[in-house]
Amino acid sequence: MMKRFVYINDDSSQNLYCDNRISNRKYTILNFLPKNLWEQFRRFMNQYFLLIACLQLWSLITPVNPASTWGPLIIIFAVSATKEAWDDYNRYLSDKQANEKEVWVVKDGIRKHIKAQDIHVGNIVWLRENDEVPCDLVLIGTSEPQGICYVETAALDGETDLKTRVLPSSCIGLTPEQLHKIKGVIECPNPDKDIRRFDSNMRLFPPFIDNDLCPLTIDNTLLQSCYLRNTEWACGVAVYTGNETKLGMSRGVPEPKLTAVDAMIDKLTGAIFLFQIVVVIVLGFAGNIWKDTEARKQWYAQYPEDGPWYELLVIPLRFELLCSIMIPISLKVSLDLVKSIYAKFIDWDEEMYDHETMTAPHAANTAISEDLGQVEYILTDKTGTLTENKMSFRRCCINGTFYGNESGDALKDVELLNAVINNVPDVIRFLTIMTICNTVVPVRSMSGNILYKAQSQDEDALVNAAARLHMVLISKNGNSLEINFNGKLIHYEILDTLEFTSERKRMSVVVKDSEDGKILLLSKGADEAILPLSYAGQQIRPFVDAVDQYAQLGLRTLCLGWRELKDDEYKDWSQAFKEARSTLVNREWKLDEVCQRLEHDLEVIGVTAVEDQLQDGVPETIETLRKAGINFWMLTGDKQKTAIQIALLCNFISSEPRGQLLFINGKTEDEVLRSLERVLLTMKITSSEPKDLAFVVDGWALEIILKQYRSVFTELAILSRTAICCRVTPSQKAQLVELLKSCDYRTLAIGDGGNDVRMIQNADIGVGISGREGLQAARAADYSIGKFRFLKRLILVHGRYSYNRTAFLSQYSFYKSLLICFIQIFFSFFSGVSGTSLFNSISLMAYNVFYTSVPVLTVVLDKDLTEKTVMQNPQILFYCQAGRLLNPSTFAGWFGRSLYHALVVFLITVHAYADEKSEMEQLSMVALSGCIWLQAFVVTIEMNSFTIFHHLAIWGNLLCFYGLNLMISAIPSAGLYTIMFRLCRQPSYWITLFLITVVGMGPVLALKYFRYTYRSSAINILQQAERSRVATFSIRDLDSQLKSIEKDVGSLASRNKFKSSVYEPLITDSPTATRRAVGPSAFDFLQPAQSRDDQNAGLLEIVCMLTE
């Protein structure tokens, strides 16, 4: 492994590494143009347009002025380059501000003020309270006598609570003067981006001899961009500087996500490209034949007998250039523009503003709004996402005695209060573990109250509960800890903390009671992580029962245990622990192993149960989204039973007999496989029944499945609309997302905590809830919202509108380009297949860039249905999910329309403007006017709602067309001179245009009307309903009608390739089963459907049990 050795305060070695100049810039002034151009030209579309533009420079083949392509191309490039430059300039300014900030650094034993950018590795940097940390430091001194300091890491990981950072043991007690002269070496890994790990060692040189290698962890560091809080001063050694800091390393450009719509547009572009090639080859061939047979006879063309070698290519290349407009150059720009507006609409949405936490929704990724409308699978975290992550201590079981069962709140349980007053030893021990075994930091506020800063909401709940039971954690300073129990102060010394990891699923502390000097190991953790560690002979049955009972109520449980350690046992272990902590390789794994050596033979003492309330509106949101045909998977680190209960509560699954849960479990590979196959079989058999099937799998089985039986599991995943995966690790979450993505489903992952980050980043769409666990998830996500219930609006309103709008915009862009291209092609048959352009360069350019691009942009305000209607009829989302509005067949419709319109424009023009009127400029202007009129009406007929902007853009654009052309017609040197004036004075011009419009739009209108009325899509029906609602029947009327039918609705599930044709409500535990000790056998697989009353009763009973 690569290491770096940092010599503290040694000027000779400091130039080995970069200085602390932060640079987030992508470009410099010199490399901006080439680099930016290079990046832009990596896109295929741009390469294509550049090729076309270059070909146009060859005057022999260009049908139009090269400006008609170069103009838009340069505009497009200039726009994106300017945007990049502006962003980069802002980054430069902020870098500069950070780089020039003054900091205190020790030079030659004296503290000096230097600019932050001049810090070198090995320098000692002094910070004051509220200073920002300029680079990654190893803490070597603080003002606090206990050798700690507090930092806020919000800018790094989004967690807003204060974290404690401690001095390395060898630096404790050094005075500021000594710190000025300190020398030593820090051995640390090369820079990486892991902000949770810093596995290194420090050795101080004489006179600070402490021959031991002193291990360093992330707790000994101050990382760049954190703030020093509640600490007068601190100083540290710079170990990573500039862009090599943890923060700098974790910067990076994330892979851009491609939406399904984008992929479809790319596919269609490819198809059009092929079509273009075919047209070019056919016309080029025809042109060459015509030239050889006919053109040579046309003496006035003076075709030479022998052309140059490339002569055969000339005509095909001309047609390539003529047809190049088939692929609309403005598409990319228009799409980028509307996409950023969609994102803005999300940011601006008042109804998604969370008043409670003052959080506004935010679209960090502006490019994927359409995908929201096409979501098929939602993978959701449980804690903090579905629930509030606001924990409250509800019940506990201490050595077999249940507290809080009657009142539902153990804190009010008189028995428990009495037990505390009577100093029942087990209860005291229990409270002690609750108070000590955690990472909570007590902070004394101004008013003297003690506030707890906790990273885990569970720990926060436990410490607060203990405080209510008179065991108050007063202070935690470095290794010493103070507790006030019933007015009596108790001191403990924390010897070691065995941290929580998601693999271990438990944490322990080793403390020394200051009174009697006893060394205690206190542990808390998940039941399966603690109960197996109980000493031989302990009855763990009561605890298992308690855990079961609590889990069925949807409570989160933790088991507490302890053990007294003998002095020598601790000493031996402590040595090993220290060694493990100072290893540089595989530290985590080694620590695990060492921890296991201590954590055994525990006396399990009790179980705590903490309630996490559901967020507002979660059941409704899930119900609505499920109706919209979206499948839900719940991925949680929580216990199976807790997960199931929460799932029941929030409509995730339904109770028996409407729903049924299928469990996949087993300890060995064979068991898991058998279980998996059984579930799959059941799934297949029942797929025709109106049952809601859900499978439940736990992390252990999932691990085996993902390794060995992926294909079987994939089959199952496709069949099942609901799944609950419990006890899964972050990486398993991400793997599940990958699995669904590999089946070509659009996935949305939503979560709130750091453990969801990988899943959020892997999913097609990541949604983060800016919750109590910090902002890590929200940062990593494409969208961040304040509450789960906003997801409904995000998908149904924003996603759906975005999809509809983009579908129209993209197809329309192709339509208008094809329209003008087809006219050019038709004209070529009238011009000796020689590749003459009917339209002049200015018209062509303006047609693409202004006339047809501006009106259609109003599509960003188009709403086919009101938000309310969509919310009431979520099934309508099916049109987006199935891609009904943008697919090859709708595209074929637009293609046909452009062909038809081109025929109409061309044939009417050449017949109306025949003989003496067939002057080139006039005829081309008539045809162009025809196109402009048609496109105005096409936009009109395809829009669903008209605001003032629509009228302005559509009709204003038409006026602009005339204004602009009249202006050009007034310039004597222009080719168009007087043409437009002449035309506007001719009655036949207006008559021709009127004819073109009616012939072009008549059939479109008739067809649309017919389909709208007699072959109505669901969208049409709802549009009609919206209108007639106002006129005839009240909303209530319709709603009730809708609802009554929807109750047993068959859904659109049939659309999905593999899915059964009916919507299957979900079932789970029958009322009796919930009370039994639950195993898979308790769930009858094929229970006959019962009457509705029974189901309701069953569900009611469960709900009652949960709320009692």
Partner: protein
Amino acid sequence: MQNANGSTAGSSSASGEASAPLRNSKRPKYSRFTQQELPACKPILTPRWVISVFTLIGIIFVPIGLAALAASNKVVEIVYRYDDDCVPPNMVNMKVAYIQNDTIDKTCTKTLKVPKHMSQPIYVYYQLDNFYQNHRRYVKSRNDAQLRKASEANETSGCDPERTANGAPIVPCGLIAWSLFNDTYSFAIRNRNLTVNKKDISWKSDRDHKFGKDVYPRNFQNSTLRGGAKLNLTKPLSEQEDLIVWMRTAALPTFRKLYGRIEQDLVINDAITVQLQNNYNTYSFSGKKTLVLSTSSWIGGKNDFLGIAYLTVGGLCFFLAVAFTIVYLVKPRKLGDPSYLSWNRNPAGH
């Protein structure tokens, strides 16, 4: 995305605010635009609306069609194709040789009969068929700058292959000018000459701005390959109206160009004697040459297309309106009935 904020984090505000950037996000400002709630009208295609639109279009179209047709019918046209007729019978099989032989006299005299009273002005056009003035090689072969200004006489770019002759630039250069139409017509009625006014046959804008008053033809038709007409070297281009007309290229292979105007009425059954100089070679590409005498109306020359198209479309609109009405009456359908929704139609349960 992880580091969406990372780039600014290095320098995030020094004020030491405890809250992270996202939490600072301000409450969205309410406006009807940002909330996508702009007042909008949402027209839907009701039967009544659609049927009335089609009826209305029919009502508008039929009269316009009738008027256009009437106007077109009022136009009197004498169309006479002479390219075949003017070839002497002994050369019918060698037309190209005939036309290229300068020694043969190309005069050709024919008589036309006036079918209807024609009131002045009567436009004289020549019509060419199968002549590709819009051919890519041809249409670009000109230089507008040279035509406009005497000082730009050397500006012959784009004029290939008629740029220079004998080492000097051609004015006007290019294939279009080179191939200038050179048939001439003179008319007589009852042995009295009919004057053909050849003034103002071109666009005034072209004479004033596109063809210079000080630009004189130079070196024109001097190369070995003779094209069409020669120009009067003493007249500036702005007065060479035949050239100006010819250089307004036609977009279609069949086109008429104005030759002149007869400014007197022609009476029915008058016999017009036309003396043609059949010089222009259309035989090599089997093009037709036609002489057209025509009056005009408000929609231009004789062209039935617009009238017929309007009547047809108007009729179709009426037909559609009636058809939709019948369908609507026979098979009424309640708009917006939720029971049509597919998810409501599935039988309860399955």
